[in-house]
Subunit: 144 residues, 2 copies
């Protein structure tokens, strides 16, 4: 959970109506300590109430499009979602466990990427830099 985030405000700050469904999706994403898949988010929401799977996908697209949620690739088939970097929440790399699918957020300073020199000469537009480490997590290592 991000102490600095009022989800209601976050939504209105990007000109999105703070509907019940959007708030609930954003809460699940924001209150989780690690990124999760659309399926996971849907299952979490379904436990306590009812929402359509498609609505979850649409809301995630919306939140990613408006820049308050970040879509992360994994070493697996599905994208994961977490709160997008902001003033209180620096960009950081992630670790993806190939075995259990768990994704961890790594310390923003644990790994440095120097992209400035490239940005100057690269002929296209760079919107995002994603750094992901793949491997086997501590727990899964133990089990083997």
């Amino acid at each position: 959970m991000c102490l600095h985030c009022n989800y209601q405000e976050l939504l209105t700050s990007v000109n999105l109506e703070a509907t019940e469904s959007r708030l609930r999706v954003l809460e699940v994403v924001g209150n989780n300590s690690f990124p999760m898949s659309a399926g996971d988010i849907y299952k979490t929401l379904e436990r306590n109430s009812t929402i359509n799977r498609v609505t979850v996908y649409r809301i995630l697209d919306l939140l990613v499009g408006s820049g308050i949620v970040e879509r992360l690739s994994t070493g697996g088939r599905s994208a994961y979602y977490g709160l997008a970097p902001n003033n209180f929440h620096k960009p950081h790399p992630h670790f993806y466990c190939k075995q259990c699918g768990q994704m961890d957020c790594l310390n923003p300073d644990s790994l440095t990427v120097k992209v400035e020199s490239l940005s100057k000469t690269f002929p296209g537009r760079i919107d995002k830099v994603e750094v992901r480490l793949d491997g086997i997590c501590k727990n899964c290592l133990k089990q083997n």
Copy 2:
């Protein structure tokens, strides 16, 4: 194309029988100057001969598993494949164009990642570090 790669040898070096299909898949991957999807590889092979789509997937799994081909995530739905880093071919970041799906290999030195300090303290096993830049490529920028 990698001048240092003899694909036949490459296969046998990892104890894989150099079957016709495997050679052809590896050639397509290795001779291409940028990573491509399983579907692209399949289409390329189908143009001149015949191979089953499933076989392409299975061979790619095999090649990735044996470490001679690298599976790369994209900002899109499908994985892309390229020759895995080796002595003649340093690890490097990639650029993915969200619009046309083209993936480019960036210069290994264009972007520095310091992962040593993390590796020392991280409790899991790190097999791979993937750095991907997402954005809009030069060509797609022009068209808008």
